[in-house]
């Protein structure tokens, strides 16, 4: 039992954090657009749900504080107080405080520290001013509302109100209102009836064969609305019938609507299902809605039409609309999310990894058996395994946008602290990336953003003086690029000061004073440990720790980081990360007796290296590929393998981070689904190898770390450009 409760508490904490996140996002939208009632509702719901769930776990401190927040939000929602930036700031801070309360009471199970207690007291004090606004007005509103409900009920004494407007053709169609009213009287008691001839024209033009009757009837009956409506079924075409239920029925309908299953999506259907509306009334109203839309070009709401038609009471429509909103909400949640424990997913992916290996073994045997049908069957299985693998890996993928949105708040807070006006523009939020990667990338990104805001973007006055818009812009962009996800953080600030970086680096002894470095190399210096050029050290960044930590974090994720900057225009940091950490499509190559895996996404093409070209290529370390210089990596030399007198060699052209290189291998063995098995700790220092995998025949193949290899060759290239030129 206690175990279960732990689990549930954990779910609560997760959910509460998500709700707080969405609350924050909505508040930030409200800051720009205070009239957005949808977002006010979203904030209110978040607070409401947190309060409710916290109550279930007896987290009274959370309930107590959240209640105040919810109360204020309720007033906002009811239009009693208007939302302003001051209140939004207060609510944002409250979100943080609720987060801390949950952290302290639900996670750590300790008590608040003095600072948090003080904050809570301050917040409550500030909220009080909103809670005590116009108490008289509130009271008045409340009573009028009650009166409204009564009069909405319409008729006293629990009577039905039936209103009939007979059409002119009733008599000519052989019918007489009398018979319907007599029949109605058999279902209950006609308490009062008021007959009028509203539409009857002046005597001269009055057509005695036309019917001008209309009736307002107070009717006492326990019959269902449908039954009463059926009385007039035969004159439906010629008679406008409006049946309003007695007040007791109203309550009944509202209850009924609330208890309906959630799948009843449309307003009309909900009302018909509850019996508050007959199918005929619905059809009529829909027809009216359609024709009105045709005439005016704009559709009015069905709810409004129904109320205007007096088919249903506003209170019932409201209940049905609430129900509808709830159903929708529930449905969208059901449709989009399924909570799965992460370890279950991990074990599924592990199993699929084993399946891939076993499948490779089976297809190898099938190929060797020379049994065509076995081979065919196996290739179908292989295809399916591939699909399963892809979808399983996709399960772990989440859009990076959720993480990005969290930064809106960071940007808002930091820019206020700095007295700068900074906008964050997000693009590529749909780009998907492995969940574990998302978690690990958030901190380095925050650091980079802060850096840009602190050092990159200038103060508004300075920006104006430079002829830039006063508001600075930060851009955050993500996209997929050949098996990697690329995240770009850009600003339109002052750019990096090349000379100052160089001076600092020389001062710190990172480069010798005579060294000639290109811009790229100079910019990279800021990733060196202990480097900071900021003249003032703020409490945000500039303490000289950070950029090197950022780089280390990115490298540990098998990623790369580089940086472009232009003086006066801004800086752009580009982070490149592998999409996933578990299984990849590999391209198998053989060198000597061993096999190696190249991630397939990085392979551009394969070319044969003929005997003649070989000697030349070996000499120069590059070949001419359609007029481009393609630097070569001889894997045999790279791994120091014994010489092999193969007659042929092949070049696998790979591309990483915008640069191409050729891997010289003995033979090409084709595509292979590769389950990445990490190398042991002992091998973490190995360069050029990113992992290992097990082949179908049980042997081990090493996975080549192509980005590292390409970078290495690019570095050698740029260090010795003279040699290359001479060779050319």
């Amino acid at each position: 039992m206690s175990f279960d409760l732990e689990q549930v508490v954990y779910t609560f904490i997760e959910e509460a954090r998500e709700l707080l996140d969405s609350m924050e996002a909505s508040l930030l939208i409200l800051e720009d657009n205070p009239a957005d009632s949808e977002n006010i509702d979203a904030v209110f719901r978040a607070a409401h749900t947190i309060k409710g769930s916290a109550g279930l776990f007896g987290l009274n401190e959370v309930v107590g504080f959240t209640h105040v927040v919810e109360d204020v939000l309720d007033r906002v929602r009811a239009g009693k107080i208007s939302i302003n930036n001051e209140l939004i700031a207060l609510l944002l801070e409250s979100g943080d405080h609720i987060n801390e309360l949950i952290d302290v009471f639900a996670v750590k199970k300790t008590q608040l520290n003095a600072a948090a207690e003080q904050r809570e007291a301050d917040l409550l004090h500030s909220f009080n001013q909103y809670r005590t606004v116009h108490p008289e007005m509130v009271a008045v509103r409340d009573t009028t509302r009650k009166v409204d409900v009564c009069s909405e009920g319409g008729v006293a004494y629990n009577l039905w109100h039936i209103s009939l407007r007979f059409g002119t053709e009733v008599f000519r169609n052989g019918m007489d209102p009398m018979s319907f009213i007599k029949y109605l009287a058999t279902l209950g008691n006609i308490v009062s009836i008021s007959t009028s001839f509203e539409g009857m024209p002046e005597p001269g033009s009055m057509d005695p064969e036309a019917c001008y009757y209309s009736f307002e009837i107070q009717f006492d009956s326990s019959a269902e609305k449908q039954v009463i409506a059926d009385v007039f079924r035969f004159v439906n075409e010629d008679c406008a019938v409006h049946i309003l239920p007695p007040h007791s029925k109203l309550v009944e309908y509202v209850d009924l609507i609330k208890s309906l299953p959630a799948d009843n999506g449309r307003l009309g259907e909900i009302l018909v299902a509850a019996g508050a509306l007959t199918q005929h009334e619905l059809d009529q109203s829909l027809e009216l809605q359609r024709s009105a839309a045709e005439q005016s070009g704009s559709a009015s709401l069905l709810g409004d039409i129904l109320v205007a038609q007096r088919s249903v009471e506003p209170a019932i429509v409201e209940a049905a609309l609430n129900k509808q909103a709830k159903s929708k909400e529930q449905k969208s949640k059901e449709n989009f999310y399924l909570r799965v424990q992460a370890d279950k997913l991990d074990s599924l992916i592990n199993l699929i990894g084993e399946l891939v290996i076993a499948g490779a073994g089976a297809s190898l045997l099938a190929r060797q058996s020379n049994n065509a049908s076995l081979y065919e069957a196996n290739s179908i299985v292989s295809d399916l395994i591939e699909e399963i693998r892809d979808s399983a890996l996709r399960l772990r993928m989440v859009p990076i946008g959720e993480t990005f949105n969290r930064f809106q708040r960071v940007v808002r807070d930091v820019s206020q602290e700095l007295g700068k006006d900074i906008q964050l523009k997000i693009s590529g939020a749909d780009t998907e990336v492995d969940k574990t990667l998302v978690e690990k990338i958030a901190d380095p990104l925050v650091h980079l953003l802060r850096n840009s805001m602190d050092h990159g973007i200038e103060m508004p006055e300075r920006r104006m003086a430079l002829g830039k818009p006063a508001a600075g812009t930060l851009t955050l962009n993500a996209y997929h690029d050949s098996g990697s996800i690329v995240i770009e953080i850009g600003d339109d600030g002052g750019g990096l000061n090349r000379d100052r970086i160089l001076a600092k680096a020389i001062e710190r002894g990172l480069v010798s004073s005579g060294a000639s470095l290109n811009d790229q190399e100079i910019f990279k210096l800021i990733f060196e440990p202990g480097f900071s050029t900021a003249e003032t050290i703020t409490n945000l960044s500039g303490r000289g720790v950070g950029m090197d930590v950022v780089k280390r974090n990115i490298l540990s994720l098998r990623g790369t980081i580089d940086l472009d900057s232009e003086a006066g225009l801004g800086t752009r940091v580009r982070i490149r990360l592998p999409l996933t950490l578990a299984i990849i499509d590999g391209f198998l190559v053989g060198v000597g007796r061993g096999s190696y895996v190249v991630p397939l996404e990085l392979v551009r093409e394969c070319i044969e290296l003929s005997e003649k070209e070989r000697t030349l290529a070996r000499e120069r370390n590059y070949i001419n590929l359609r007029g481009e210089v393609l630097p070569l990596i001889f894997l045999r030399d790279h791994f120091d393998l014994p010489d092999h007198s193969g007659r042929r060699e092949n070049v696998v052209v790979v591309r990483s981070a915008g640069r191409s290189a050729g891997l010289v291998v003995d033979d090409l063995q084709g595509e292979f689904q590769t389950v990445i098995k990490p190398l042991g700790k002992l091998f973490t220092g190995l360069r050029g190898i990113s992992g290992s995998t097990i082949l179908g025949n049980g042997t081990v193949a090493l996975i080549l770390d192509i980005p590292a290899m390409v970078q290495q060759i690019v570095q050698t290239e740029s260090r010795a450009p003279a040699r290359l030129h001479a060779a050319r």
């Binding site: 209102p177 009398m178 009213i181 009062s192 008021s194 007959t195 001839f197 005695p208 064969e209 009736f215």
Partner: protein, 111 residues
Amino acid sequence: MNMSLETNAQKSVAKLEGDLTIYSVIELKSALLDLISSSTETEINLADVLEFDSAALQVLALAKRTANATGKTMRISAPSSSVVNLLELYDLVGFFGDSLLISTRDVDPLE
């Protein structure tokens, strides 16, 4: 429908007999409107009306309304049971009330 008419200086008394239904409303309308326009006081005796439907009642209502609008008097007298039933069903006794001289039932003790 059958109508017999007695007219003196101030008052016309029309006695309607037989069925007053949709089949005779055109006739009924013109007859009643003629009567109202030609005399200041009209009494319509419905004692011998057999069948009486909503269409006929509607014409009576038209006549009553027209009379009221032109400052004349029209009343129904001695309605038969079929007329009374319908007037009661529609709660129109009051509408013709001040003019229902002799009713088969007690309409208004003050009258």
